[in-house]
Point group: C2
Chain length 390, copies 2
């Protein structure tokens, strides 16, 4: 009898679909990077809580995250070249590969089947099957002289393409991965000196790379690639007086509001307003410090701005229509990242040195919640799975 009962007990454990993990939707999930401990916290935005922690993800000092198209799996890109696939429902590492010595971020293809990683060391991009993390393609970043470049500014684009920059070579490459093992590359050369980061507009049309080695931005219109790369905003950069720049602004967060881009100035206490029709600067908005992220609320009516040291305890909110600052808040020490909920009613703000994430009502600026997280940096919600360039 005991044997039969033990057998039944084993049956319970072996039942398909039988687990202690409750059923739940994944549309309101996200992760917060715990920068110092190599962990991520799994969070949910409906009840504004931490659901659990996943550890063992390596060096997350400059980590970013993409999501599978079903919103269940996070692909975490670590600074140490580690690529980790995490199951947000079972809260466990599904698979982890060390794909290079030093990496700077990744992207997931439009069809969700490919995950690409940009590498500093040894350079190049590697492309993996998003289900298995098996390597599908390895594309070195060699220029005409055979010299390797660091790869930066990797994004996805419509048509199952990835776009990335070669820092030392000063090139932008577009890879069409409709046949993943035999990608078709298009190379734009002499685009400017030392592209250090890049962004793609939300419609996937314009790819813009910031230049470290000179002023200006390199622009490619992906609807009209035959026109080549253009240099625009020739005064954008450190300028001739070589201002002290505490942190080069991130470009991922550049805010597109209809036909205008709001962009962090380099080294100056300003947010620039750029007309997307002619790529001219039409206004500049004085702000509290050197801006790092300039993030648009999903309805494009506000942008939220954080700042480099020593002003990194402050966040300002700009009203897009009037171009005026309508709020200044102090979320804590070392504000590193801000993420809006998908429809923009709330914004989550990480303060690394206060070990907390604060959640604000984006209309009243009231605090809706505060979560204890160890050295939080990036915050990433699963709706990114459904957007281009995120």
């Amino acid at each position: 009898m005991l044997n039969r009962i033990n057998f039944l007990a084993l049956m319970i454990l072996a039942l398909p679909g039988c687990s202690n993990v409750p059923l739940r939707g994944t549309g309101d999930l996200g992760v917060v990077i715990e920068r110092a401990t190599g962990s991520i916290d799994v969070v949910e935005t409906s009840g504004r809580s931490v659901l659990g922690k996943v550890t063992g993800l390596g060096d997350l000092s400059h980590a970013s995250v993409n999501y599978s198209r079903d919103g269940r799996y996070a692909y975490v890109f670590g600074r140490d070249g580690g690529l980790t696939k995490v199951d947000l429902l079972e809260m466990r590492v599904v698979k982890r590969v060390m794909q290079s010595g030093n990496s700077i971020g990744g992207a997931i293809s439009q069809d969700g089947k490919l995950v690409a990683v940009a590498n500093y060391t040894p350079g190049g991009i590697k492309v993996f099957d998003s289900a298995t993390l098996d390597q599908v393609a390895d594309i070195p970043s060699l220029d005409d002289t055979g010299k390797s470049s660091k790869v930066v500014g990797l994004v996805d684009a419509p048509g199952n393409r990835f776009v990335w920059c070669l820092f030392e070579a000063g090139e932008i490459w577009v890879g069409d991965f409709k046949s993943p093992a035999t990608p078709v590359l298009q190379k734009f050369k002499h685009i400017g000196k030392e592209p250090y980061d890049a962004m793609i507009t939300a419609d996937g049309r314009y790819y813009l790379a910031g230049l470290f080695g000179e002023d200006g931005l390199a622009l490619i219109d992906l609807w009209n690639p035959e026109a080549g790369a253009k240099q625009v905003l020739n005064h954008y950069g450190k300028g001739e007086q070589k201002l002290p720049v505490f942190k080069m602004p991130h470009m991922e967060g550049w805010a597109a509001t209809g036909s205008e881009l709001l962009v962090p100035a380099v080294g100056r206490h300003e947010v620039l307003v750029i007309d997307e029709n002619n790529w001219q600067e039409v206004a500049h908005i004085p702000v509290h410090g050197q801006p790092v992220f300039v993030v648009a609320r999903p309805d494009n009516r506000q942008v939220w701005v954080n700042f480099a040291f020593p002003d990194n305890d402050t966040v300002q909110v700009i009203d897009v229509q009037s171009r005026k600052i309508v709020q200044t808040i102090h979320p804590g020490k070392a504000v590193l990242h801000m993420e809006f909920t998908p429809r923009g009613e709330s914004i989550w703000v990480s303060a690394r040195d206060d070990n907390k994430v604060t959640i604000y009502d984006s209309e009243t600026f009231a605090v809706q919640g505060e979560l204890h997280v160890d050295s939080p940096s990036g915050i990433f919600f699963t709706h990114r799975a459904n957007r281009t360039g995120l």
Copy 2:
């Protein structure tokens, strides 16, 4: 012994979280309305398959769907006034309320907590708690004389607001539901004769209502409501010659492409291009029939158009940049609806009288799949949970 074994067998069924429902993400789910049978098919877009069917949803002859913010639950609005909450994971009806005699669609609030339904009979809107479907507010649609109007064009807007039209009264009402039981109403009167449908731009700024009783459209800029409702596009409508109109075009599908709207002409074989800066018609594109839905691919590079009887076997694709038709396809008899996957690599097209949904590659127009569905009409994917006005 048998008792013990039976007890254990019962224990298996009672184990918390133990079910036959496999864990899965909800970001790639959706539903297809089976118009004739009062059922919905639950589908997924990664493997392009039907996962199952949920029955007993009443009259779905003019049904629409919203999603909970976690993507797990569909709120199905039936023509008979039924509001049904369906669990897409367990594939069952969670709750069903008959909230009126005749309804025309619904919306879910920005925070996901409120579901609103627009009613023909007896008019007005009713607002429900999205978790329990308990009624939270009941707002009749009485004009100054105490006469009730049919409600149409109900959408959500940022700031936890809903916006709707009173057909007979010719009014637009904006309700602020930050305190759900005591909503604050703002009424725009004399906006034009018989608003029959409406749309809100993806940023939640502009609300546009089509007029049945006269030509033109009523426009409210929700960022500047004090400016009141304006009448724009005064030639938009049936015109003085009173063209035969086989089906008034749906406005939900109006395609916003950056600073332009592509809009179905009423009664004419044309798609109109409207400049959003001045609300003037800047071009018209000849098409195969009277357009019904004009849907933008998520990257805004193409719009797909279906047509009223007798041209409802055809779909055309317009290249937005050149304003030329680049493809004409024949998905089957009585094409009723089209839905892009969230990042736009595929489009799903329902052909009611051929009982099938065909899935196309939106770049090559190749058929990627075909599903048998009984009298399919609307197709709705869960990423709508994360968008304004969808």
